[in-house]
């Protein structure tokens, strides 16, 4: 197991270089000159533009730019964004916010998704099951920005239970409403996944055996059915953590959360290569680590799985 984890960590190195290279290339290929855009539609003084290009290495060919970026990276220098702020400082500010948001969303979708899914699965075909199925279908069908605006207006403006936007320090409490919106669609998926899984496992041989042995209903459900039903759900949740962090652009925009999504969006618009690459690289790392965690959890949930 230890060796397996070490190997997985080593695999991260080529993935990291591949991802940064690809992203850097994509940013480099963006049409339009970011320095030009800095001036807007006002006159561009070539002397000033040349100076700025040199400052951000934009006058170099692609490979040179990329290697300069890597060279700086080795010394933990991520460069500056166009407003002269160190990118490292930006990362330190935005990632905690989005991590808080993603964790809250993950907790929400996991806890409620599994509870509702288990109850619906155990009562297959009953009224509760039907209601939950229809409701989750509606949630999946509605685009997230509609859900976001409606929740913001109803909960934030009309009822006044929460501030309509987050802004500022973006503490845990401030992020509850956006986290619910962010996790809502995944919540519906977790619910449906859990329900199906439970229904499948209810008819498995080992469940019949366990019941035949005279185990209590509660023990059968919790230890035998639930644990085995969790494998697909855990896979989904693990992969979802990365998706939540990278996919929070819409939610962060609606609720004005100063996190990764918003910053990434702004940086893409401004063509800030180093900032985009740095943010995406960290996201890639998060994604890989989350997947690793999922694989380790497998072994724990299903002892038949052994990593060598």
């Amino acid at each position: 197991m230890t060796w397996y984890i070490i190997r997985r960590f080593l695999q991260m190195i080529p993935v990291f270089f591949g991802a940064t290279f690809l992203v850097y290339f994509l940013v480099f290929s963006l049409p339009g000159d970011p320095i030009q855009a800095l001036f807007g539609d006002r006159p561009v003084n070539e002397a000033v533009a040349a100076q700025l290009r040199e400052q951000y290495n934009l006058d170099e060919p692609f490979l040179v730019q990329y290697f300069l970026y890597l060279k700086n990276l080795v010394t933990f220098n991520l460069g500056n964004d166009f407003s002269g702020r160190p990118v490292a400082e930006v990362l330190v500010q935005i990632f905690p916010v989005t991590i808080r948001l993603a964790i809250l969303a993950l907790i929400f979708e996991a806890v409620f998704g599994i509870i509702f899914g288990v109850v619906a699965g155990l009562r297959k075909g009953k009224l509760f099951d039907g209601t939950v199925l229809v409701a989750s279908l509606i949630v999946i069908a509605i685009p997230i920005f509609v859900l976001g605006f409606v929740m913001q207006f109803v909960v934030g403006v009309k009822l006044g239970w929460a501030k309509p936007t987050v802004g500022g320090d973006a503490g845990w409490l401030d992020l509850i409403l956006p986290a619910i919106v962010l996790g809502l669609v995944s919540f519906a998926y977790v619910l449906r996944l859990t329900r199906t899984s439970i229904i499948e496992n209810m008819h498995a041989d080992y469940v019949r055996t366990a019941t035949a042995k005279g185990l209590s209903r509660q023990r059968v459900v919790v230890v035998h059915i639930l644990r085995n039903s969790m494998i697909p759900v855990v896979t989904f949740l693990g992969a979802d953590l990365g998706a939540l962090m990278g996919g929070a652009i819409v939610t962060e925009g609606i609720f004005n959360v100063p996190g990764v999504g918003q910053r990434l969006y702004q940086s893409v618009l401004r063509g800030e290569g180093p900032t985009i690459v740095s943010i995406v690289s960290v996201l890639v790392m998060v994604y890989i680590l989350a997947n690793l965690l999922v694989d380790v959890l497998y072994a724990w949930l299903d002892p038949r799985i052994r990593y060598a």
Partner: protein
């Protein structure tokens, strides 16, 4: 003010948005004394550059710098210049100016404001080695060419001379009668000595001489907000009537609008397009206003394209202009929130004339348009070419461009298309490279309240923002005459004569003037906007 990129964004928001007949005010508040201790929260965006006056060219930083610094003059709500740091600005030939400063003015760190504070700051802004985005503001001053040249190590303009602590002289490269009018723009602000020690650090914690100052070290919380408190030693005309302004940064106007509805934000300076139709009922009487400001929207047809040269080109440009139904588009697409243009500047400016001879070319007249187009076809057949209008697709421009294009198809019977670009940077790069293959969207927000600002930089031969490469000797001559006029009134009359030439040549087709909608919370009053559409922050009071 001339805030390029973001003003485009706002322009688009405004473009996609504006409601109401552009001219009228809405329900401006005329409250009483109000609560002078209240801290007002207002929407803004993260400044894109350190807060250095000469390096700030977008709204997010511009509105903060404008409150932190006080220049020689400021503009009142109507755009009239008022002396601030300047005791007097005198000239006899519109080329050599003597500027005397008021005594005993200080920066908030106690340093006195002297002639050197201005001269050093302007030299810093103009010198190529400092790469300031607002560099071109100093282009009129003698010696600018030397310090601004690529690779130049000279950093003092020969035209600026310090006479004594409170006096300096400025020599321009050529006479310009409206030069003093420009001095209220933030790029001309003075800087304290401490700034030159470490400009980047200064930009994060600027020390100014304006009506407000940073609440404390680190009052600028990046991507979150920036907090300003009144400067207790301020002696100018823009005395704060509130306990401070906190600019909260929003990535879009929608989120800010929700905050405004919940009284979680006191002032929103742009109503988002999605709420233009209903913001008046959402907010209720006395919580919004709608007012025209010094900005316009135009379509530029580049002069470097063969099919637009000569007599045929001129006839075609007129035909296109007359085939655009400005009244209908402003009514239907902008819910009346734009004012159809009748010339090239803006109605809030001194000297504006709505009936310049030749302006009938900006009126909708499909029969005449068809006739002109047919005449052009006799000279040079259009064939099956397509007329395109290029613009970035975000920002709400798509709707009106498609309306214009459809009108052209119907009235002229030609093939016309919207040519969308993904980002502003992309279309801007092509425009600057003179690489456009058709017409493109342009617009202008005034830097300073003057007709010339809408004409010289845009249509003067070789001017910085002359994207269409227009060049007319007669027009240049008129501009020069106007600049050399003895009084601003005389100058304005000449500038309007210059506009007659533009109406004849139509290097750009004026469409409409911009209108600004502002909303505020239940907690504040005395909200108004100035000539440039910017809220007058220092006058807002709490309830």
């Amino acid at each position: 003010m001339r805030f390029a990129r973001t003003s485009k964004l706002i322009g688009l928001a405004a473009a996609a948005v504006l409601a109401l007949s552009a001219c009228g005010g809405g329900g401006g508040t005329e409250g009483g004394e109000g609560n002078a201790a209240a801290v007002i929260t207002a929407n803004s965006t993260e400044p894109q550059n350190p807060l250095i006056p000469t390096n700030t060219n977008e709204v997010g930083g511009g509105r903060v710098v404008d409150l932190l610094f006080e220049g020689l003059i400021s503009y009142d709500a109507e755009g009239k210049p008022v002396n601030e740091m300047a005791e007097s600005i005198e000239t006899e030939d519109s080329q050599n100016y003597t500027i005397k400063l008021k005594a005993d003015q200080t920066f908030t760190n106690g340093e006195p404001v002297t002639a050197n504070s201005f001269v050093d700051a302007w030299n810093y802004g103009a010198a190529a080695e400092n790469a300031q985005l607002g560099q071109y503001f100093f282009e009129s001053i003698a010696g600018y060419d030397e310090v601004s040249a690529e690779g130049s190590t000279k950093n003092e303009m020969s035209g600026l001379k310090v006479v004594d602590d409170l006096t300096f002289t400025a020599e321009l490269a050529q006479p310009e009668s409206d030069w003093p009018l420009r001095l209220g723009y933030t790029a001309f602000s003075p800087l304290p000595e401490v700034a030159f020690e470490d400009m980047e650090a200064f930009g994060n914690n600027p020390v100014g001489n304006g009506p407000y100052m940073l609440a404390d070290e680190g009052a600028w919380q990046h991507d979150i907000q920036i907090a300003l408190t009144p400067n207790p030693d301020y002696q100018g005309t823009r005395t704060p009537k509130n306990g401070g302004i906190t600019f909260k940064f929003y990535s879009g106007f929608e989120a800010a609008y929700q905050d405004l509805l919940a009284n979680n934000l006191d002032l929103l300076d742009t109503i988002p397009p999605s709420s233009l139709a209903n913001f008046k009922t959402d907010l209720g009487e006395g919580r919004w206003l709608e007012k025209a400001y010094a900005g316009n929207q135009t379509i530029t047809i580049p002069q470097y394209l063969d099919e637009w040269t000569g007599e045929a080109g001129e006839l075609r440009r007129k035909a296109i202009s007359m085939a655009i139904n400005r009244d209908e588009i402003t009514e239907v697409i902008f819910s009346g929130g734009r004012q159809p243009a009748t010339e090239f500047t803006a109605p809030v400016l001194d000297g504006y004339d709505e009936s310049i001879p030749g302006s009938e070319v900006l009126e909708y007249n499909p029969e005449e348009a068809k006739k002109l187009w047919a005449q052009a076809d006799e000279i040079d057949p259009w064939g099956d070419r397509t007329f395109t209008i290029a613009s970035n697709a975000d920002g709400g421009h798509k709707e009106w461009i498609e309306a214009v294009v459809n009108g052209l198809k119907n009235d002229l019977g030609i093939d016309a298309q919207f040519e969308p670009y993904a980002t502003f940077a992309e279309v801007r790069t092509k425009i600057t490279a003179k690489d456009m293959t058709g017409a493109f969207r342009t617009g202008w927000q005034a830097d300073y309240p003057s007709l010339y600002n809408f004409l010289g930089p845009l249509f003067g031969t070789g001017a910085g923002s002359n994207d269409g490469e227009y060049s007319s000797e007669a027009f240049d001559k008129k501009l020069n005459e106007g600049l050399n006029a003895e009084t601003p009134e005389e100058g304005n009359a000449i500038f309007n004569e210059a506009q007659e030439i533009l109406l004849q040549d139509l290097p750009a087709i004026p469409l409409w003037y911009q209108v600004r909608q502002v909303g505020w919370s239940e907690n504040v009053e005395n909200v108004d906007t100035a000539w440039n559409g910017v809220p007058i922050y220092h006058n807002i009071t709490g309830k």
